[in-house]
Protein backbone atom coordinates (compact mmCIF):
# COMPACT_ATOMS: atom_id res chain seq x y z
CA UNK A 1 0.00 0.00 0.00
CA UNK A 2 1.17 3.52 -0.63
CA UNK A 3 0.02 7.10 -0.29
CA UNK A 4 -0.15 9.48 -3.24
CA UNK A 5 2.50 12.18 -3.39
CA UNK A 6 1.34 15.72 -2.77
CA UNK A 7 1.69 18.36 -5.46
CA UNK A 8 3.53 21.56 -4.64
CA UNK A 9 3.06 24.82 -6.55
CA UNK A 10 6.69 25.77 -6.81
CA UNK A 11 6.65 29.53 -7.18
CA UNK A 12 10.18 30.95 -6.85
CA UNK A 13 9.61 31.82 -3.19
CA UNK A 14 8.08 28.45 -2.27
CA UNK A 15 10.89 26.65 -4.09
CA UNK A 16 13.50 28.80 -2.40
CA UNK A 17 12.23 27.89 1.07
CA UNK A 18 11.71 24.26 0.10
CA UNK A 19 15.31 23.88 -1.09
CA UNK A 20 16.72 25.15 2.20
CA UNK A 21 14.22 23.12 4.20
CA UNK A 22 15.18 19.97 2.29
CA UNK A 23 18.90 20.65 2.89
CA UNK A 24 18.28 20.90 6.61
CA UNK A 25 15.96 17.89 6.84
CA UNK A 26 18.12 15.53 4.79
CA UNK A 27 21.34 16.48 6.55
CA UNK A 28 19.58 16.29 9.90
CA UNK A 29 18.27 12.84 9.03
CA UNK A 30 21.74 11.69 7.95
CA UNK A 31 23.22 12.84 11.26
CA UNK A 32 20.43 11.17 13.21
CA UNK A 33 21.58 7.86 11.71
CA UNK A 34 24.62 8.18 14.02
CA UNK A 35 22.43 8.29 17.13
CA UNK A 36 23.52 5.37 19.30
CA UNK A 37 26.36 4.47 16.92
CA UNK A 38 28.96 7.22 17.33
CA UNK A 39 32.38 6.11 18.59
CA UNK A 40 32.05 8.01 21.87
CA UNK A 41 29.25 9.42 23.98
CA UNK A 42 30.16 13.10 23.49
CA UNK A 43 30.13 12.65 19.74
CA UNK A 44 26.86 10.78 19.82
CA UNK A 45 25.32 13.73 21.67
CA UNK A 46 26.97 16.27 19.40
CA UNK A 47 25.77 14.70 16.15
CA UNK A 48 22.27 14.17 17.56
CA UNK A 49 22.16 17.76 18.80
CA UNK A 50 23.20 19.10 15.41
CA UNK A 51 20.57 16.86 13.81
CA UNK A 52 17.97 18.34 16.15
CA UNK A 53 18.96 21.90 15.23
CA UNK A 54 18.75 21.09 11.52
CA UNK A 55 15.41 19.33 11.76
CA UNK A 56 14.12 22.31 13.76
CA UNK A 57 15.28 24.67 11.02
CA UNK A 58 13.62 22.42 8.44
CA UNK A 59 10.31 22.54 10.32
CA UNK A 60 10.28 26.32 10.36
CA UNK A 61 11.19 26.53 6.68
CA UNK A 62 8.55 23.94 5.66
CA UNK A 63 5.91 25.75 7.68
CA UNK A 64 6.89 28.98 5.96
CA UNK A 65 6.87 27.33 2.50
CA UNK A 66 3.41 25.86 3.13
CA UNK A 67 2.11 29.21 4.34
CA UNK A 68 3.26 31.19 1.30
CA UNK A 69 2.10 28.40 -1.01
CA UNK A 70 -1.33 28.83 0.57
CA UNK A 71 -2.65 25.37 -0.34
CA UNK A 72 -3.47 22.43 1.84
CA UNK A 73 0.16 21.47 2.55
CA UNK A 74 1.96 21.65 5.88
CA UNK A 75 5.39 20.77 7.29
CA UNK A 76 4.54 17.08 7.66
CA UNK A 77 3.12 16.64 4.17
CA UNK A 78 6.10 18.42 2.65
CA UNK A 79 8.50 16.15 4.50
CA UNK A 80 6.67 12.85 4.26
CA UNK A 81 4.65 12.93 1.06
CA UNK A 82 7.05 14.05 -1.64
CA UNK A 83 9.01 11.54 -3.65
CA UNK A 84 12.71 11.64 -4.56
CA UNK A 85 12.25 13.72 -7.69
CA UNK A 86 10.28 16.31 -5.72
CA UNK A 87 13.10 16.82 -3.22
CA UNK A 88 15.22 19.92 -3.84
CA UNK A 89 18.20 19.45 -1.51
CA UNK A 90 21.87 19.71 -2.35
CA UNK A 91 23.52 16.48 -3.46
CA UNK A 92 26.12 17.08 -0.75
CA UNK A 93 23.74 16.57 2.16
CA UNK A 94 22.31 13.26 0.91
CA UNK A 95 25.72 11.61 0.58
CA UNK A 96 26.02 8.65 2.96
CA UNK A 97 27.64 9.00 6.37
CA UNK A 98 30.52 6.71 5.38
CA UNK A 99 33.07 6.82 8.18
CA UNK A 100 33.39 9.62 10.74
CA UNK A 101 35.70 11.51 8.39
CA UNK A 102 33.12 11.54 5.60
CA UNK A 103 30.33 12.65 7.95
CA UNK A 104 32.45 15.47 9.35
CA UNK A 105 33.85 16.72 6.04
CA UNK A 106 30.27 16.83 4.70
CA UNK A 107 29.25 18.76 7.82
CA UNK A 108 32.25 21.05 7.55
CA UNK A 109 31.62 22.03 3.91
CA UNK A 110 27.94 22.62 4.65
CA UNK A 111 28.32 24.42 7.99
CA UNK A 112 31.06 26.71 6.66
CA UNK A 113 28.51 27.79 4.05
CA UNK A 114 25.44 27.82 6.32
CA UNK A 115 27.21 30.01 8.85
CA UNK A 116 27.84 32.73 6.24
CA UNK A 117 24.54 32.17 4.50
CA UNK A 118 22.28 32.54 7.53
CA UNK A 119 24.20 35.53 8.81
CA UNK A 120 23.63 37.26 5.46
CA UNK A 121 19.98 36.17 5.39
CA UNK A 122 19.31 38.02 8.65
CA UNK A 123 19.02 41.08 6.38
CA UNK A 124 16.37 39.49 4.16
CA UNK A 125 13.41 41.77 3.46
CA UNK A 126 11.19 38.82 4.31
CA UNK A 127 10.61 39.04 8.07
CA UNK A 128 10.06 35.30 8.57
CA UNK A 129 13.17 34.28 6.65
CA UNK A 130 15.16 36.90 8.56
CA UNK A 131 13.87 35.50 11.86
CA UNK A 132 14.65 31.89 10.88
CA UNK A 133 18.10 33.10 9.83
CA UNK A 134 18.69 34.77 13.19
CA UNK A 135 18.23 31.43 14.98
CA UNK A 136 20.01 29.30 12.39
CA UNK A 137 23.01 31.60 12.29
CA UNK A 138 23.76 31.00 15.95
CA UNK A 139 23.33 27.25 15.61
CA UNK A 140 25.49 27.10 12.49
CA UNK A 141 28.35 28.84 14.30
CA UNK A 142 28.46 25.96 16.82
CA UNK A 143 28.17 23.36 14.07
CA UNK A 144 31.06 24.90 12.18
CA UNK A 145 33.28 25.06 15.23
CA UNK A 146 32.55 21.42 16.06
CA UNK A 147 33.26 20.20 12.51
CA UNK A 148 36.38 22.36 12.15
CA UNK A 149 37.92 21.00 15.32
CA UNK A 150 37.33 17.47 14.07
CA UNK A 151 38.82 18.15 10.63
CA UNK A 152 42.01 19.35 12.32
CA UNK A 153 42.03 16.47 14.81
CA UNK A 154 41.58 13.90 12.03
CA UNK A 155 43.87 15.48 9.45
CA UNK A 156 46.65 16.24 11.88
CA UNK A 157 46.12 12.97 13.77
CA UNK A 158 47.33 9.53 12.83
CA UNK A 159 48.31 8.27 9.40
CA UNK A 160 45.00 6.38 9.28
CA UNK A 161 42.81 9.34 10.27
CA UNK A 162 44.70 11.63 7.88
CA UNK A 163 44.17 9.25 4.96
CA UNK A 164 40.47 8.91 5.74
CA UNK A 165 39.95 12.67 6.05
CA UNK A 166 41.76 13.25 2.76
CA UNK A 167 39.69 10.57 1.02
CA UNK A 168 36.49 12.20 2.31
CA UNK A 169 37.57 15.62 1.02
CA UNK A 170 38.45 14.14 -2.38
CA UNK A 171 35.08 12.38 -2.60
CA UNK A 172 32.88 15.28 -1.40
CA UNK A 173 34.65 18.18 -3.06
CA UNK A 174 32.70 17.86 -6.33
CA UNK A 175 29.44 18.33 -4.41
CA UNK A 176 30.48 21.65 -2.86
CA UNK A 177 29.89 23.85 -5.92
CA UNK A 178 26.12 23.37 -5.91
CA UNK A 179 25.84 25.55 -2.79
CA UNK A 180 26.76 28.59 -4.89
CA UNK A 181 24.51 27.90 -7.88
CA UNK A 182 21.59 30.25 -8.59
CA UNK A 183 18.78 29.86 -11.15
CA UNK A 184 16.54 32.52 -12.72
CA UNK A 185 13.86 32.24 -10.04
CA UNK A 186 16.37 32.74 -7.25
CA UNK A 187 17.94 35.61 -9.17
CA UNK A 188 14.59 37.41 -9.04
CA UNK A 189 14.39 36.88 -5.25
CA UNK A 190 17.94 38.21 -4.88
CA UNK A 191 16.95 41.36 -6.78
CA UNK A 192 13.91 41.72 -4.54
CA UNK A 193 16.11 41.56 -1.42
CA UNK A 194 14.38 38.39 -0.19
CA UNK A 195 17.33 36.10 -0.93
CA UNK A 196 21.07 36.75 -0.94
CA UNK A 197 23.54 36.00 -3.71
CA UNK A 198 25.61 33.00 -2.58
CA UNK A 199 28.33 33.97 -5.04
CA UNK A 200 29.18 36.81 -2.67
CA UNK A 201 29.98 34.24 0.04
CA UNK A 202 32.31 32.08 -2.02
CA UNK A 203 35.61 33.78 -1.19
CA UNK A 204 34.93 33.78 2.54
CA UNK A 205 33.76 30.17 2.41
CA UNK A 206 36.94 29.16 0.59
CA UNK A 207 38.99 31.11 3.12
CA UNK A 208 37.48 29.23 6.05
CA UNK A 209 37.78 25.90 4.27
CA UNK A 210 41.39 26.32 3.11
CA UNK A 211 42.37 27.71 6.51
CA UNK A 212 41.06 24.73 8.46
CA UNK A 213 42.13 22.17 5.89
CA UNK A 214 45.63 23.68 5.80
CA UNK A 215 45.89 23.55 9.59
CA UNK A 216 44.77 19.93 9.35
CA UNK A 217 47.71 19.25 6.96
CA UNK A 218 45.17 18.19 4.31
CA UNK A 219 44.80 19.50 0.77
CA UNK A 220 41.89 20.55 -1.43
CA UNK A 221 41.59 18.83 -4.82
CA UNK A 222 42.65 20.91 -7.80
CA UNK A 223 39.78 19.89 -10.07
CA UNK A 224 36.97 22.40 -10.25
CA UNK A 225 34.34 20.30 -12.05
CA UNK A 226 31.25 20.32 -9.90
CA UNK A 227 28.33 17.89 -9.74
CA UNK A 228 24.83 19.43 -9.71
CA UNK A 229 21.21 18.34 -9.96
CA UNK A 230 19.73 18.20 -6.47
CA UNK A 231 18.11 21.62 -6.74
CA UNK A 232 15.96 20.41 -9.66
CA UNK A 233 15.27 16.93 -8.29
CA UNK A 234 18.02 14.91 -10.02
CA UNK A 235 19.48 13.04 -7.10
CA UNK A 236 22.08 10.41 -6.41
CA UNK A 237 20.87 6.87 -5.73
CA UNK A 238 21.27 7.48 -2.00
CA UNK A 239 18.29 9.78 -1.49
CA UNK A 240 15.66 7.19 -2.38
CA UNK A 241 16.97 4.81 0.26
CA UNK A 242 17.04 7.59 2.82
CA UNK A 243 13.46 8.66 2.07
CA UNK A 244 12.15 5.12 2.18
CA UNK A 245 13.25 5.05 5.81
CA UNK A 246 12.28 8.63 6.67
CA UNK A 247 8.80 8.26 5.15
CA UNK A 248 8.00 4.64 5.89
CA UNK A 249 5.56 5.26 8.74
CA UNK A 250 3.48 7.86 6.91
CA UNK A 251 3.51 5.80 3.72
CA UNK A 252 2.44 2.65 5.56
CA UNK A 253 -0.05 4.22 7.98
CA UNK A 254 -1.40 7.35 6.22
CA UNK A 255 -2.11 10.23 8.59
CA UNK A 256 -0.52 8.46 11.56
CA UNK A 257 -0.11 10.74 14.59
CA UNK A 258 1.56 10.34 17.97
Amino acid sequence: MSVANIQVSETPQVLYALRRADDALILGHRLSEWCGHAPMLEEDMALSNIALDLIGQARELYTYAAKIEGKDNDEDKLAYLRDVRQYRNLLLVEQPNGDCAQTLVRQFFYSAFADLYWRAMMNSRDATLAAIAAKSEKESAYHLRHASEWIIRLGDGTEESHARAQAAIDYLWAFSGEMFAVDAGERSLIHAGIAIDPEGLRDRWLNTVTGVIGEATLTLPQNDWMQQGGRVGRHSEHLGHLLSELQSMQRTFPGLTW
Binding site: E42, N49, I132
Partner: protein, 167 residues
Protein backbone atom coordinates in the same frame (compact mmCIF):
# COMPACT_ATOMS: atom_id res chain seq x y z
CA UNK B 1 -15.92 52.12 32.37
CA UNK B 2 -13.08 52.43 34.82
CA UNK B 3 -14.30 49.28 36.51
CA UNK B 4 -14.27 47.37 33.21
CA UNK B 5 -10.72 48.53 32.46
CA UNK B 6 -9.60 47.55 35.92
CA UNK B 7 -11.25 44.21 35.57
CA UNK B 8 -9.51 43.63 32.24
CA UNK B 9 -6.14 44.64 33.64
CA UNK B 10 -6.68 42.35 36.56
CA UNK B 11 -7.75 39.45 34.34
CA UNK B 12 -4.77 39.93 32.06
CA UNK B 13 -2.44 40.00 35.05
CA UNK B 14 -3.99 36.75 36.30
CA UNK B 15 -3.52 35.19 32.87
CA UNK B 16 0.07 36.44 32.70
CA UNK B 17 0.86 35.09 36.17
CA UNK B 18 -0.60 31.70 35.25
CA UNK B 19 1.42 31.50 32.02
CA UNK B 20 4.54 32.85 33.72
CA UNK B 21 4.42 30.07 36.30
CA UNK B 22 5.10 27.39 33.67
CA UNK B 23 8.59 25.93 34.03
CA UNK B 24 10.99 24.62 31.43
CA UNK B 25 10.54 20.81 31.55
CA UNK B 26 14.28 20.28 31.12
CA UNK B 27 15.43 22.94 33.60
CA UNK B 28 12.57 22.99 36.11
CA UNK B 29 14.05 25.79 38.23
CA UNK B 30 13.45 28.26 35.41
CA UNK B 31 10.03 29.62 34.51
CA UNK B 32 9.32 30.66 30.93
CA UNK B 33 9.27 34.24 32.22
CA UNK B 34 12.83 33.82 33.59
CA UNK B 35 13.89 32.43 30.21
CA UNK B 36 12.35 35.27 28.24
CA UNK B 37 10.29 32.73 26.27
CA UNK B 38 6.99 34.33 27.37
CA UNK B 39 6.48 37.32 25.07
CA UNK B 40 2.91 38.47 25.41
CA UNK B 41 -0.49 37.68 26.86
CA UNK B 42 -3.47 39.10 24.99
CA UNK B 43 -6.94 39.17 26.48
CA UNK B 44 -9.85 39.39 24.05
CA UNK B 45 -13.10 39.20 25.96
CA UNK B 46 -12.57 36.06 28.04
CA UNK B 47 -10.25 34.46 25.52
CA UNK B 48 -6.53 34.43 26.24
CA UNK B 49 -3.80 34.14 23.66
CA UNK B 50 -0.23 33.64 24.80
CA UNK B 51 2.74 34.42 22.55
CA UNK B 52 5.96 32.48 23.08
CA UNK B 53 9.21 32.49 21.17
CA UNK B 54 11.22 29.31 20.53
CA UNK B 55 14.69 29.04 22.03
CA UNK B 56 16.64 26.66 19.80
CA UNK B 57 15.07 25.74 16.42
CA UNK B 58 14.75 22.09 17.30
CA UNK B 59 14.12 22.35 21.04
CA UNK B 60 11.65 19.55 21.85
CA UNK B 61 10.63 21.31 25.07
CA UNK B 62 8.65 23.92 23.13
CA UNK B 63 5.70 21.59 22.43
CA UNK B 64 5.62 20.63 26.09
CA UNK B 65 5.78 24.26 27.18
CA UNK B 66 2.86 25.20 24.91
CA UNK B 67 0.79 22.38 26.38
CA UNK B 68 1.68 23.36 29.95
CA UNK B 69 0.64 26.95 29.28
CA UNK B 70 -2.78 25.83 28.09
CA UNK B 71 -3.20 23.64 31.16
CA UNK B 72 -2.06 26.42 33.52
CA UNK B 73 -4.54 28.88 32.01
CA UNK B 74 -7.40 26.42 32.17
CA UNK B 75 -6.60 25.74 35.80
CA UNK B 76 -6.71 29.52 36.37
CA UNK B 77 -10.20 29.59 34.91
CA UNK B 78 -9.54 30.67 31.32
CA UNK B 79 -11.40 28.41 28.90
CA UNK B 80 -9.85 27.34 25.59
CA UNK B 81 -6.66 29.42 25.70
CA UNK B 82 -4.42 29.47 22.64
CA UNK B 83 -0.66 29.62 22.26
CA UNK B 84 0.98 31.35 19.34
CA UNK B 85 4.64 31.01 18.39
CA UNK B 86 6.42 34.16 17.28
CA UNK B 87 9.75 33.93 15.46
CA UNK B 88 10.63 37.59 15.29
CA UNK B 89 12.49 39.04 17.07
CA UNK B 90 14.50 35.87 17.59
CA UNK B 91 15.02 34.72 21.16
CA UNK B 92 18.45 35.24 22.64
CA UNK B 93 20.00 34.23 25.95
CA UNK B 94 20.40 37.98 26.59
CA UNK B 95 16.68 37.94 27.44
CA UNK B 96 17.24 35.66 30.40
CA UNK B 97 16.49 37.59 33.58
CA UNK B 98 19.06 38.20 36.34
CA UNK B 99 16.82 36.14 38.59
CA UNK B 100 16.95 33.35 35.99
CA UNK B 101 20.75 33.47 35.88
CA UNK B 102 20.95 33.34 39.66
CA UNK B 103 18.57 30.34 39.80
CA UNK B 104 20.54 28.54 37.09
CA UNK B 105 23.81 28.95 38.97
CA UNK B 106 22.22 27.76 42.21
CA UNK B 107 20.91 24.71 40.29
CA UNK B 108 24.45 23.88 39.16
CA UNK B 109 24.31 25.18 35.59
CA UNK B 110 26.66 27.97 34.51
CA UNK B 111 24.54 30.77 33.01
CA UNK B 112 25.15 32.02 29.45
CA UNK B 113 27.83 34.60 28.83
CA UNK B 114 27.55 37.74 26.77
CA UNK B 115 27.24 36.94 23.08
CA UNK B 116 30.56 38.29 21.79
CA UNK B 117 32.59 35.16 22.51
CA UNK B 118 30.43 32.87 20.37
CA UNK B 119 31.64 33.95 16.95
CA UNK B 120 35.31 33.16 17.50
CA UNK B 121 35.97 29.89 15.67
CA UNK B 122 38.52 28.65 18.18
CA UNK B 123 38.23 31.50 20.63
CA UNK B 124 38.85 30.98 24.31
CA UNK B 125 35.73 31.06 26.42
CA UNK B 126 35.93 31.72 30.14
CA UNK B 127 33.14 29.97 32.00
CA UNK B 128 32.92 30.05 35.79
CA UNK B 129 32.28 26.85 37.69
CA UNK B 130 28.80 27.10 39.25
CA UNK B 131 29.93 24.91 42.18
CA UNK B 132 33.10 26.62 43.42
CA UNK B 133 33.22 29.79 41.31
CA UNK B 134 36.66 29.06 39.85
CA UNK B 135 37.43 30.32 36.36
CA UNK B 136 39.86 27.44 35.86
CA UNK B 137 37.53 25.33 33.70
CA UNK B 138 37.65 23.42 30.43
CA UNK B 139 35.22 22.42 27.71
CA UNK B 140 34.51 18.68 27.53
CA UNK B 141 31.89 18.70 24.81
CA UNK B 142 30.39 21.51 22.74
CA UNK B 143 27.06 19.69 22.88
CA UNK B 144 25.46 18.49 26.10
CA UNK B 145 22.39 16.75 27.43
CA UNK B 146 19.99 19.22 25.77
CA UNK B 147 20.34 21.54 22.78
CA UNK B 148 20.92 24.56 25.00
CA UNK B 149 23.82 23.16 27.01
CA UNK B 150 27.52 22.30 26.65
CA UNK B 151 29.45 20.04 28.99
CA UNK B 152 32.33 21.56 31.00
CA UNK B 153 34.64 20.52 33.80
CA UNK B 154 36.11 22.54 36.63
CA UNK B 155 39.85 21.94 37.03
CA UNK B 156 39.81 23.41 40.55
CA UNK B 157 37.07 21.31 42.20
CA UNK B 158 37.09 18.57 39.50
CA UNK B 159 33.31 18.70 39.13
CA UNK B 160 31.82 18.39 35.66
CA UNK B 161 29.00 20.85 35.00
CA UNK B 162 26.53 22.01 32.36
CA UNK B 163 26.96 25.39 30.74
CA UNK B 164 23.90 27.10 29.26
CA UNK B 165 25.25 28.08 25.85
CA UNK B 166 25.08 31.62 24.68
CA UNK B 167 22.55 31.93 21.89
Amino acid sequence: MVTVLNRNAELRQRAWDAAASVVDPEIPVLTIADLGVLRDVVLDGDHVEVAITPTYSGCPAMNMIALEIELALERAGFGRPSVRTVLSPAWTTDWMSEEGRRKLRAYGIAPPQASNSRRALFGEQAVECPQCGSGNTELLSEFGSTSCKALWRCKACREPFDYFKCH
